[in-house]
Amino acid sequence: MASQPRTCGNGDCNLATDEKCVEGYPLEECPHVGRISIEDIQEVRDDAEPTVIAETTIQLDSGEPLDRETAASLQRRRLSRAIGLIGPNDSGKTSLIASLYDLFQSGPVSGVSFAGSNTLIGFEKVCHLARAVSRRVKPHTQRTSVGADATFFHLDLHQEESGLVSFFIGDRSGEDYLAATDELARADEFFELRRADCVTLLVNGEQLADGEKRHDVKAMTPQIVDALVEAKSVCEGCRLAVVLTKKDVVIASPHVERVTREFEALVAQIKDAHSGYLGEIRAFTVAASPQDCEDVARGEGIGDLLRFWIEVPPSPAVEEFRSRAAMPRMIDRFGHDGEGDQ
């Protein structure tokens, strides 16, 4: 193989052609031999066409729960209801969302039909651990991440009398809502509640039946509502559903009557404190994801809650907000942090 001509970093040297160092060094001692001259470096042409790799696929909607901007955009398409779900961790918020969706898998719920959803992947994920295909022995639901922004599950529903209505159900970690009782300023972060047509407060039936935890539930549940009303995180006139969850565990406990009595007292306490600010306050009992279905049906009580959600007349504040829906900034639909009622 022929050897390559030697090069020199000194631009005045003709080493490549005459094999001699212009500075008189023996070639093995010359510090420039073998280096590339600045003139050997080709300039990068600015007008060179960048290499374009053709995109061969189109990205489709992720199907995951929506961020606030996307939810705001979808809200403009048709009549919509925003539902705020609040409750301490493990009170059953995600189970309630999963159960509602899964009931539609078998047909209409309380006369309301499924009409579509942009978050089918999100629904399928939260339903998985209660489905037989997960091969679990007991149904389970994944917890919502603490500290993450609220996201929205979307359901378009159809009813003969009211036509199509879009539902946006807010999902946020229970720990975040509890934090508002420690620091009122945290309640300002709850943009998903500020414009909710209906807020749904979950009370953990299993904990209310538990001797060690029941007093904590009785103390903390009204305090969450106090904090949200005090911080005006829910709008005036907003209706409130107070939901006793895990009915299956309650009726299997030896304290059914006590739980019922204490839940009624809890609802009465919230009514006494906030009926002047909030709209209708109504109590419900549900078994979203029972551990067995011998005494309660899967999803029992969810249909009644859905009817309450769908029948909610928009509060004056929400009506005023709807009139702003034509504003060009989609983010306005769920409001900015600290935006407050305007």
């Binding site: 992720s62 899964d102 047909g107 579509g116 089918l120 209660a130 295909v133 199509l164």
Partner: protein, 288 residues
């Protein structure tokens, strides 16, 4: 597309019966003496090798090999409608994996956009392999009632998109056909429940099967949220079990199908009580 042509997209998840439908259709429109709503007009300049190969296997009672995974073939038929008008019908034969990818991977090959913006959609759902949702509590209660052992706690399976019920995948596919690049406004949809012979024992009409086995899809279509003009059909394009030559299968039931005087007598097309062997009826309804 010329004025007298109709572009029909044949859509369906893997093993939904798309290729078998095309094979039976091509045989029937060319079968001597067959009375069909759409009839054979003439051969155009197209290449019929693919269709002829499909129809040959179908006539012999052999199962179709799966549509090749990469790419699609567009098959074209020149037919005549009931009023004598020639109609060129084009069917892109798209692998089912491309549709399951839309659900699982949330993307779409740009090459499919032209196909999926067709004004007429023939959507096949295999009636014999509908994955219904089932719940842990109900499955455990059933096992307990039957005295069967309960499932092991160690046997948990992680979530993946392919585990979703059939009706969820189909609803999402139809929703995707109505938004963004694929949104071409109102369209006609023939929903074909294939392998109808496998569900016939349940004595349901196609409409009843839709509401009982695919209730989420039924609700979605009836709600009218998306502008589909739709109808539902039960179709058995084979009439019974076919043999897999690669497995050396031989069935008496397949021989019974071969014994019929006319190969097209295997076909059953059901629409709410009315049964015929005319496999062109869903297509005729689509383009009418």
């Amino acid at each position: 597309m010329s004025d007298n042509s109709a572009n029909i997209a044949v859509v369906g998840m893997p093993a939904s019966g798309k290729t078998t439908y095309l094979a039976a259709l091509w045989h029937m429109v060319r079968e001597a003496g067959a009375v069909t709503a759409l009839s054979f007009e003439s051969l155009s300049d197209g290449n019929y090798e693919h269709l002829n190969a499909l129809a040959k296997l179908w006539r012999q009672g052999k199962i179709q090999q799966r549509t090749q995974l990469a790419g699609m073939r567009t098959v074209s038929m020149r037919l005549r409608s009931g009023n004598g008008q020639p109609v060129q019908i084009m069917f892109p034969d798209v692998p089912g994996e491309d549709f399951s990818r839309m659900w699982e991977k949330r993307d779409l090959d740009k090459g499919m956009v032209e196909t999926l913006t067709a004004p007429f959609i023939l959507l096949l759902v295999n009636g014999d392999t509908i994955q219904l949702p089932a719940w842990v509590v109900e499955r455990q209660a059933l096992a307990k009632a039957m005295g069967l052992p309960l499932q092991s706690p160690a046997a948990g399976i992680e979530w993946s998109a392919d585990l979703a019920p059939t009706q969820v995948k189909v609803v999402d596919l139809l929703q995707m056909l109505m938004v963004d690049e694929l949104d071409v406004g109102p369209r006609r949809l023939a929903l074909v429940i294939s392998a109808w012979d496998r569900v016939a024992d349940e004595e349901l009409t196609p409409t009843e099967l839709l509401s009982t086995k695919l209730p989420l899809l039924d609700q979605y279509l009836r709600s009218g949220r998306d502008p589909w003009t739709w109808s539902v059909w039960g179709v058995s394009a084979q009439g019974g079990i076919y043999e897999d030559p690669e497995k050396g299968e031989k069935f008496a039931a397949t021989d019974a199908l071969r014994d019929l005087d006319r190969a097209s007598d295997r076909i059953k097309v059901v629409r709410d009580g009315a049964t015929s062997s005319d496999i062109t009826r869903p297509l005729d309804w689509l383009i009418s």
